[in-house]
Subunit: 187 residues, 4 copies
DNA sequence: TGTTAAGCGAGACGGTACGTCGCGTCTTAAT
DNA sequence: ATTAAGACGCGACGTACCGTCTCGCTTAACA
């Protein structure tokens, strides 16, 4: 007898959120600002999303494009390609800020964390595929847990780029890939 | 020539901040609350610290005790010891939340980032010492940049514990240390 | 289309303002205090009034009762009656303070001045009526501008009572009325 | 063994106060601002003046030049000359604001009021002289109290210019002077 | 094909924190 | 002992967002 939630309103909110985050960073993201910019009433926003963060997460997930797993036949080259893509994205301070903000929220709010976990898993899928192919080719010690291997690969980049907030040059990337390949190689 | 910033006021603010963070978490941390609880005027707070985050950073840094670089004579054992300590601290969700908050702020605010950088360097010092000793003993390839080596060591732990928000078991730690030792070994 | 400003909130603010001014004088009047005492949020207060002074002006205007123009048939007696009323009110130092505060604000802020002008005109209406009746009766020179006549009547009282801050005895009042009546009489 | 209050400091404060009031109006007048601009410490300021208002009053009194009583031989012309001078000064909104601010303070603070009263009396002296001369010449009814006569003269101007905040044209001034001369004339 | 409950935009509401300002007092080192 | 400098506790300022609520209007699902 009633009326369903409006897809139009939802789309306007998501768009506004993405614009705000891109233009003014996460600190410009505000329930009131989304309402102002989208022309959607605050009450409507709360009918669609339990919190502002939920809206944010959905909007951001919507924004990130899928990446395919490379398949050059060499672990070293596959990793180089993936990490180049990663560094290009992570080089943008706004994206780093966004990521860290989301990370922060996901520590406080378990429900938010669960949604975020799914997003992260999607992002990790290509790397997992690359590692499994390398294992099959005998380039990676098969006794190593794939998840741990993943953190071995990503970790140094994340640590340098996100935590230390230092640039990662392509020289650095080459060295790190070389070290990781050694680490994962069968004895 | 003028009156110096009061050490008493500073101590009261730091104490109040530490109490608040310990008792009510980061979300209970508020300039007004610190002022109320410490009996220090807000204006004084802003005379000592440019922002609340700066106060927070100092208070938290104050809280964490110094760690000595272990010296067992073996890189593997030194790393195990250090990472056990690290995991014990990083296992506390409140500390993780705190860390990520600080990280977030340091992306936005360059001046804050500089302060944070100093803190991080202090934390990194022992690991750097361990790696340099290992290099001297011939356990680490001397052509590897110490900073990169540091990220190789820390990265996987940080990635799994902080980013993926997964526990790192001592089994995991052993495996990761083993892989890192292999990666850094001279050819 | 939106929700209208709440009359309840407005009434509570006006009441609180009047109480404060009556109990503690103008210096006790503070936005924060009105908010506290009335239970109305500060933000709401600023939705209703541009400044605290505007609230004050409205509250005070609300407080002062209307005065009817007397009609004794004699200008002298009409003026005596009006000025007695005026002196009774102006004898109260709190009211004088209030008046001067409002006067001060209206010099700085043109919009406030406009509001104040309306209030003043209401207050002046009875005097204008009295003068016009006297003119019709031939007691006042018809070539005199009514506004100037008004200032002739009010001026000496205002000057002595408000500016010089001296009491105006009923002897003084009688003399002044007598002089004014002479001044305004047709030649 | 002690040291007298520095005249230099006093002069610097008075100068700074006058500059502030002239450039930015009374609302720009602040203890802190005087201290900043003059380079005189706040504590010094409080050693010289009990309150900021006291400094203000002294500085402003210092600013106003003395006016001589005119002596044309005709009350009408004497008043015209005096009121022209008065209107020239009172036409400046900053001076009006200043005056009203001082008036306001003098209602709250009795000690301030006393100092202000002296200043006002100095200002009134020439008008009193003019009236007494006119009385001696037989132009003013000798039974009228000089103080009341003074308020008869000043009142209408003050009422129109300061209270109603309306311009007083020279036409208005002529009419008002004419009416006042009639009012004061012997019967 | 009305009827009607829910969605909608708009934005007011009570809160709470923010960062700044001015006050009058107090502490320091220098004169 | 006075001075310049400026920190101190205090408390008001005006603004921003929060999540809830109250409006009057519109619209889709049901009767």
């Amino acid at each position: 007898m009633a009326r369903p939630l409006s897809e139009t309103a939802r789309a306007k909110m998501l768009l506004a959120t993405q614009e705000i985050v891109m233009l003014h960073g996460l600190d410009g993201f505000t329930i009131d600002e989304v309402s102002r910019r989208s022309g959607v009433a605050k009450s409507t926003l709360y009918r669609h999303f339990r919190t502002g963060d939920e809206l944010l997460l959905v909007a951001v997930d919507d924004l990130i494009e899928e990446v395919d797993a490379p398949d050059t036949g060499s672990l070293r080259d596959d990793l180089r390609e993936m990490l180049n893509t990663f560094m290009a994205v992570a080089g943008n301070p706004k994206i780093r800020q966004l990521f860290v903000s989301i990370l922060k929220r996901s520590i406080t709010d378990p429900e938010f964390a669960a949604t975020f976990r799914n997003v992260k898993e999607q992002r990790h899928a290509p790397l997992r595929v690359v590692l499994q192919r390398a294992m099959a080719r005998g380039e990676v010690d098969p006794s190593i847990d794939v998840d741990l291997a993943m953190h071995m690969v990503e970790g140094p980049f994340v640590s340098k780029r996100m935590f230390a907030d230092e640039d990662v040059t392509s020289r650095d990337a080459d060295v790190l890939v070389e070290l990781v390949v050694r680490a994962l190689a069968p004895r």
